[in-house]
């Protein structure tokens, strides 16, 4: 059920955006505010619990998830600048709390979870005006955002609204960048091979900015490009959209 332009919504930063990409989080909040949504940023945000869940430590994941759930008591949309964490809260919380006392409450909560671009396009139907200089960008589609959460081209739809932004497609747009949370440290060699290929793919597009919707992918791809000394900029789509639509 898509609520019709809710006046208020929660913003859940996610741990990686909170710590590594606060500008992206801020930009997401501004985009929502600009669209007329009053943003509530609850105090006490930590982590959605995905790392522990994916490693099989479900009790620990549940403990953490409970503290996070308590931050969103009102029946309002919960918006995340991450496809992966949104997928966790939307699709895997019901699994995690299956048979638990909160099961019904969780299902209702999961129904309110949105990834940022999903909310901007599907619910708010935002219109953007490009104020920036011509630029060529490329898009890394986060695996979880597409395959788990089920984004259907919302980020690309937003980019398409920007008149002076040219989108160059990666040769392997839908291939994993190799982050995978704990995967990147449990299988560092394979993960490293994957991210090096992704970085090379991004460079080959001739774009000057790599965009994505997930903190994990951004951290990973940025790290690999920086290591190579590549001039490519890596940016969260929220931050890019905010910059393009606001003259400095």
């Amino acid at each position: 059920m898509t609520p019709a332009r809710p006046p208020r919504a929660y913003f859940y930063a996610t741990c990686l955006v909170d710590l590594f990409f606060p500008d992206a989080g801020m930009a997401g909040i501004q985009l929502l505010r600009q669209a007329g949504v009053q943003v509530i940023f609850p105090e006490g945000q930590t982590c959605c619990g995905q790392p522990a869940f994916n490693c099989g430590y479900w009790e620990e994941a549940r403990d953490v998830a409970r503290t996070q759930l308590a931050l969103f008591p009102e029946d309002l949309p919960v918006i995340l600048p991450s496809g992966s964490c949104a997928g966790m809260m939307k699709n895997h919380y019901p699994e995690l709390f299956h048979g638990q006392p909160e099961e019904a409450q969780i299902k209702a909560f999961s129904g309110r979870v949105y990834e940022l671009t999903q909310f901007l396009v599907d619910v708010l139907d935002v219109k953007l005006e490009d104020l920036g200089e011509p630029v060529k960008v490329t898009w890394h589609s986060s695996c979880h955002a597409v395959r788990d959460l089920g984004l259907k081209g919302e980020p690309q739809a937003l980019l398409a609204q920007l008149a002076k932004v040219e989108l160059a497609t990666l040769a392997r747009e839908h291939e994993c960048c190799g982050f995978g949370g704990t995967f990147s440290v449990r299988q560092p060699e394979v993960s490293g091979a994957m991210v090096c290929d992704k970085a090379a793919d991004a460079e080959a597009t001739g774009a000057s900015v790599v965009l994505s919707t997930d903190g994990g992918c951004l951290l990973n791809v940025k790290g690999a490009l920086d290591q190579k000394g590549s001039p490519l900029k890596v940016q969260h789509i929220a931050e890019f959209l905010w910059e393009r639509t606001h003259a400095r």
């Binding site: 620990e60 299988q187 490293g192």
Partner: protein, 477 residues
């Protein structure tokens, strides 16, 4: 972190990554297979419909599995096919040996069979003086080098034609060196036709077994499967117990999605339906056909409602073709009969989730496998479930080796993570320190050490978003 007996995927994968030739061979091959599959499914809705139908058929088949197996046995017996059951690979090997020895068979040709790989049948038979010659071209190539398949459909995909040319010129009598694929194929044809002619028995796998008609379906392109099953006087078919379906109508959609998913073909060259030995008045075909039904852990997997989906697999290999990990390390790095994503969930369930814990973590959970699986096996979900099984002792669980992958170090790490993440106050203090002093962490610190081999050190922002929002609130208040 790991017990000495554990098989570490990380180590073999890291080794494979150092071989640029291997990586190039796999990348090229997998790209080709991905493109060909895609061309077979021009209409995404059609594909989803066919997937849902195939999933439903395999689910129904599994739901009725015990009854279908009994029905298959009765129908086969009626058709003159002798049915044998084996709980373990050892039993299955012994059954095959007994059948061969009763016929005095010493020269054996084999059609492609992954179950026989699972059994290590060739080595077993050879230790009993029986020559077991692989006749699928890919299997023949790797058998010449004493290797195992690196892909379930394309067993020799890790080799390029130069490597095969060298190998043929060294190992096939009177063969000259050539990199021409037609000439290489002709060389193998010459050797193998003589072997088919002389063989005392043929062994094959089974793609689908039809319960009501007692029919064994074999899908192939080369004709070696037909040669192995129709030319020698004795045919032994081996199947995993999950391969049965109720009726031939069930096979049509499964066959349609199998060949398209596997090699991007709308149809294979041969689709061979075997429902009995040489019949009355027939002038050829084997005098005897045997069917060996192997369990090897499958009935245990069957006992778990979620994990049962593993048994829906029709062995198309699409999951490995699309896997970013498999594409880079190849099949041998998995040190298992079944590599790639399906192997990642099947091998630990067969061998134990503890000894194969590292393999369960050899996935970024990107979901490419689940997306292409023709029978919608939720491979990423099953991986997560098995990771849990590896580290937890659920009394209700029947998973092999449950809880034996648990380590104190990992336990402590997650307890610490939870302690921090469920206490916002504490979390706030830690992130405050991270933002102020995170840059000072040495790159050689645990976790960071591996990260920074390929990437720069991630440095937290000077102020977290939470901190900025608190400040914003403060200024408004």
């Amino acid at each position: 972190m790991h017990a000495e007996t554990d098989i570490l995927f990380r180590e073999s994968a890291a080794k494979a990554l150092l071989d640029p030739q291997l990586r190039a061979n796999f990348r090229r091959a997998m790209d080709g297979l991905i493109t060909k599959r895609k061309a077979q499914f021009p209409d995404p809705e059609d594909l989803q419909e066919l997937r849902h139908l195939s999933t439903a058929i395999r689910s129904r088949s599994l739901l009725n599995l015990p009854a279908l197996l009994v029905q298959l046995e009765a129908a086969c017996t009626r058709n003159g096919i002798q049915v044998h059951w084996a709980e373990t690979c050892e039993q299955a090997n012994q059954l095959v040996l007994d059948i061969l020895q009763a016929q005095g068979a010493t020269r054996l040709v084999k059609g492609k069979s992954m179950v026989s790989e699972e059994m290590h049948l060739n080595a077993f038979l050879e230790s009993h003086g029986i020559e077991a010659l692989e006749s699928d071209l890919g299997e023949y190539i790797i058998q010449l080098d004493g290797e195992t398949p690196s892909h379930i459909i394309m067993p020799a995909i890790h080799k390029n034609k130069d490597q095969i040319a060298r190998q043929f010129s060294q190992k096939i009598k009177d063969a000259k060196y050539t990199e021409d694929v037609d000439e290489l194929t002709a060389m193998a044809r010459k050797v193998l036709r003589q072997k088919f002619l002389e063989a005392d028995a043929g062994i094959s796998g089974v793609n689908f077994a039809v319960a009501n008609t007692g029919t064994l379906c074999l899908v192939e392109n080369e004709g070696n499967g037909r040669m192995s099953t129709h030319v020698p006087p004795l045919h032994i078919a081996i199947m995993g117990l999950e391969k049965v379906v109720a009726r031939l109508e069930d096979v049509a959609p499964l066959y349609a999605i199998l060949t398209r998913s596997a090699t991007g073909q709308a149809v294979s060259t041969y689709f061979n339906l075997i429902s009995g030995p040489r019949g009355e008045g027939e002038k050829d075909g084997p005098q005897a056909v045997h069917l060996v039904i192997l369990d090897n852990g499958r009935s245990r997997i069957y006992g778990d409602p979620q994990l049962q989906a593993t048994l829906r697999c029709i062995r198309c290999g699409a999951c490995m073709n699309h896997c970013p990990v498999y594409t880079r390390v190849g099949g041998h790095a998995y040190e298992a009969t079944y590599p790639g994503p399906i192997g990642k969930i099947l091998t630990p369930q067969m061998e134990g989730v503890g000894v194969r814990h590292d393999l369960l973590h050899g996935s970024s959970l990107c979901g490419a496998c689940g997306e292409v699986c023709p029978v919608e096996i939720p491979i990423p979900d099953i991986l997560v479930r098995l990771r849990r099984e590896a580290t937890h002792q659920d009394p209700a669980s029947s998973v092999a080796g449950k809880g034996t992958g648990r380590t104190d170090a990992e336990d402590r790490a997650w307890r610490l993570w939870a302690a921090l993440s469920k206490r916002p106050g504490l979390y706030r203090i830690v992130t405050w320190f991270a933002t102020r002093f995170g840059w000072a962490l040495p790159s050689g610190a645990p976790l960071l050490r591996d990260w920074t081999r390929f990437r720069t050190k991630p440095v937290p922002a000077r102020r977290s978003l939470s901190e900025r929002m608190r400040a914003e609130r403060g200024s408004h208040d």
